[in-house]
């Protein structure tokens, strides 16, 4: 049955409670840390060799779509009525807004050590100990807006600039790509200072703490952020009817991207599905 992903600011009190309960149970079962490790494992940078699937690559969007579906399925094994809500960071832009309330994700980290002290994922609650981290810290950390060098969340106009691009991705299909929806959304910028982050990347930077590092999945905000990023892919397809995932065919043996990216009809690790098969999700879930 097709289920619905909702705007986190519209969740009822009961929906918030059920989402949190399911997340904590997936964590308790030991499944959650596997998601953290998988994301670390699949972070292959474009200046290193090898196949890139999750980042700096056209399959950034289908990879994270599959990743979200796997988490969602783990949540639904706990509570079949739960789905991942999305955080519209163009609208909910302050530390006081959704999803940072005490009954959902909790708030900013404290200034001394960036430890999240509020909400169900605070260390003191005893249910969210970080085990698969880049550092030895066991508590969840955040640093909204990076106070020592402030940065803002992406604006609606910045997101629109990505959505307006009619081409999915362009050569060389990596972080240096200057045109195309995918990197405008993924957000490897080309300026200096705060211009180096756009859209998706900038949100990771704005939340800070765990969300900035390789183990960003440790912050449950990861999923709400990526559900919104996933929604943009759907919106982009609606806006540009007939536009497709690119590249259509694998790069040739003389291409710098030979065997380093996933073309539209190639199988994408670790799921073995093709990007083409992940373009339409209307038979699995929809966005409200």
């Amino acid at each position: 049955m097709v289920y619905t992903r909702k705007d986190v600011s519209t969740l009822t009190k009961a929906e918030r409670r059920r989402f949190v309960t399911a997340m904590l149970e997936v964590k308790r079962r030991g499944e959650y840390d596997e998601f953290v490790r998988r994301h670390i494992d699949y972070y292959v940078s474009d200046g290193d060799g090898g196949l890139r699937t999750a980042h700096m690559a056209p399959s950034f969007l289908p990879w994270h779509r599959c990743f979200l579906l796997d988490l969602e399925q783990a949540l639904q094994r706990v509570d079949p009525g739960v789905s991942v809500p999305y955080w519209d960071w163009t609208r909910d832009r302050t530390p006081a807004s959704a999803p940072w309330t005490k009954d959902l994700l909790g708030g900013d980290g404290r200034s001394s050590d960036r430890q999240v002290m509020t909400g169900p994922f605070a260390y003191a609650q005893g249910k969210w100990t970080i085990r698969a981290g880049v550092t030895d810290g066991e508590f969840l950390t955040r640093e909204f807006g990076r106070p020592r060098k402030p940065i803002q969340l992406p604006t609606r106009a910045e997101l629109k600039a990505a959505l307006d691009d009619p081409v999915y991705d362009t050569a060389p299909y990596d972080s240096t790509t200057t045109r195309g929806f995918r990197n405008r959304l993924e957000g490897w910028g080309h300026g200096t200072g705060n211009a180096t982050w756009e859209n998706h990347n900038r949100v990771h930077r704005w939340v800070g703490g765990h969300m900035l590092g390789g183990a960003s999945v440790n912050d449950p905000a990861f999923w709400l952020h990526h559900a919104f990023v996933d929604l943009q892919w759907s919106r982009w397809r609606q806006r540009h009817r007939g536009a497709r995932y690119l590249p259509e065919r694998p790069p040739g043996s003389r291409d710098s991207q030979y065997r380093r990216i996933v073309a539209r009809h190639e199988k994408m690790p670790p799921w073995g599905v093709t990007p083409a098969s992940m373009e339409d999700h209307s038979h699995i879930y929809r966005y409200a």
């Binding site: 940078s45 290193d48 050590d113 030895d136 957000g187 073995g272």
Partner: protein, 182 residues
């Protein structure tokens, strides 16, 4: 009812764990791991000499512990109370072929760097921005560490996690290239 989103069957939920130790099959990783062990041993000695500085109040400016190597821009300094050390290996044939691999530590613990296509460096601590040099990436990583926070030595497997950087996922397996930075 068990609903699978994937066409044609249930998704794989588990992740095949790469065994510790001998799993590091790839040549570059073996080289990098060997050097890391050597370096870690050396670092213990160095740490004794810098422990006072490491515990000293945060200093705004970094202090070089020794003169930088002019050729490879290796670094060895205290930055905001943290000992950051970086060197580029290059003594074996593979390193000569690939241009060598950077080994960077913060307070003696490995900081995994990756390369970006524009030539920059990303660290595991700061994964969504790249820096022009390993030194800049190391300093940026220190900026993100809390007062009591240390890098987890992902190579020792003590965290119950991994960090060997290899993942076998069938013929299209993707590898995470921690510590391999041609």
């Amino acid at each position: 009812m068990f609903a699978s989103w994937m066409p044609g069957g249930a998704p794989r939920h588990g992740r095949s764990r790469v065994p510790a130790g001998p799993a590091r099959r790839r040549g570059t990783e073996r080289v990098a791991g060997g050097l890391a062990l050597t370096r870690r041993g050396a670092m213990r000695g160095l740490l004794v000499s810098v422990v006072g500085m490491a515990l000293a109040p945060v200093v705004a400016a970094s202090r070089p512990l020794r003169r930088r190597h002019p050729r490879d821009s290796s670094f060895d300094e205290v930055y905001r109370g943290r000992h950051i050390f970086g060197t580029k290996s290059g003594s074996d044939g593979r390193a000569a072929f690939t241009g060598g691999a950077w080994q960077v530590t913060v307070d003696g613990r490995p900081l995994h760097l990756m390369r970006r296509a524009d030539g920059g460096y990303l660290s595991m601590v700061d994964h969504y921005e790249s820096y022009p040099t390993p030194l800049a990436a190391a300093r940026a990583a220190v900026d993100e560490l809390g007062p009591e926070e240390q890098l987890r030595d992902m190579d020792d497997g003590a965290d119950g996690g991994r960090g060997t950087g290899t993942r076998k996922s069938g013929t299209e397996g993707s590898g995470h290239h921690h510590g391999v930075h041609p």
